[in-house]
Symmetry: C2
Subunit: 237 residues, 2 copies
């Protein structure tokens, strides 16, 4: 059968379902009272409480509470899950290496456990990324300014790759830094590094820097002003 569900199972029954679900690459959800221990890039303990725990066939483990978009604990894809029963508790270990880390979930009581066979899928199409923004500018460069001529994207410099490199109507080199949302000072810093790199590379040819974003913070505007860079507002539609 494609879905198996148990309600308040014994640890033994839950264990057997877990074993076969891990084996058969099923998507697992559990709800119950448990404590959680993590050790790896950091270390944490989560005392007893009711949580929703998810195990995916790709090795992902997620521990969700009542609230927040983020799991309170997790294990990334590529981990391997292993269940056992000991000391009257149902223990599920998820481990991985590089970096070495381990997540232990100890169920005191399992309220619910479900195993799903996921066969049917389709992929996400997303609109409105930075890549979209770049494409829009390449399609109609006048969005930046009249006569702007894009020469390269991802142009390499010693300071890293420039989003868009081009020339203005007067033939002066222009570095364009793209952000799809409101930006802070770090974007201005990044632009500065790129402009300096290009200026050096072109034997001190004066180079313009343009920050393209839907909006910028006040401090960022000051920095741009101070460094003689420009800001170009664009809508994310």
């Amino acid at each position: 059968m494609s879905t198996t569900r148990l309600y308040r199972p014994t640890h033994r029954d839950a264990f057997e379902l877990l074993e076969s679900a891990f084996e058969n690459g099923r998507l697992l959800t559990m709800f119950g009272r448990c404590e959680v221990h993590y050790e790896g890039r950091a270390a944490s303990t989560l005392g007893p409480g009711q949580r929703l725990v998810i195990y995916k066939p790709d090795g992902t483990a997620l521990v969700h509470t009542n609230e927040s978009r983020e799991p309170v604990n997790w294990q990334p894809p590529g981990s391997t899950h292993n269940a056992s029963v000991r000391d009257g508790q149902l223990q599920i270990q998820s481990t991985r290496s590089n970096p070495t880390e381990q997540l232990d979930v100890l169920f005191e009581r399992v309220e619910t456990i479900s195993a799903y066979a996921v066969t049917d899928r389709s992929d996400l199409t997303l609109i409105g990324s930075e890549e979209d923004l770049r494409q829009r500018i390449l399609d109609s460069p006048d969005v930046i300014e009249d006569g702007f001529d894009p020469i390269a994207t991802e142009r390499q410099t010693t300071a890293g790759p420039i989003d868009i490199f081009g020339k203005d109507a007067a033939g002066r080199p222009v570095v364009v830094e793209l952000k799809r949302r409101r930006v802070g000072p770090s974007a201005a810093s990044q632009l500065k590094r790129y402009v300096e790199a290009i200026t050096t590379e072109l034997s001190n040819t004066s180079t313009r820097g343009i920050l393209v974003a839907p909006s910028i913070t006040d401090r960022t505007a000051s920095l741009l002003d101070e460094w003689d860079f420009e800001y170009c507002s664009v809508d994310i539609e």
Copy 2:
């Protein structure tokens, strides 16, 4: 009852459970064939497929597939959920404002739906954060260098707050930037902005900049070198 579960319910039955679960602040999990539409900060569509969908009483919505630690679609906490049945589909809308965004999940068939009352909880304690690292340095400043004297943490500058501000054995001002993991060029840029801010503030008193991290990338090392900053290696234990 604290847990309610339905297996292959009619849309009508699922709808009624959803209504009462949203009303009573329950944690909800659903599994079934659905498509998902999002519009807000970006826009996306996800064609029909089997997914695990979670609704939390704080307004969070999560759409999980077979794989990945991240939900393929979601709505942040603070959203409000609303269910309806139309055109033979079970529709669940999650909306919020500021920014305005909306997530629509359209179930063609619900395999499973469960509502949980979460009453029992306890909080996470995490070890190994940047805060820990700062505390370790304040406890034994010689980790940075002999005679280093921390004066303030989170010291304000025009470029933002400095992690640790202090003086070296010779009385020269020192800006310390902490990172708990391997860092790239942006950390060096950040340090540069802080050092420049302090230098200006102290009427051009020459100021040292030290980047503290477990390791750094090659390019970052070059930048530090170029700008006459230093790197101090520390272990995250």
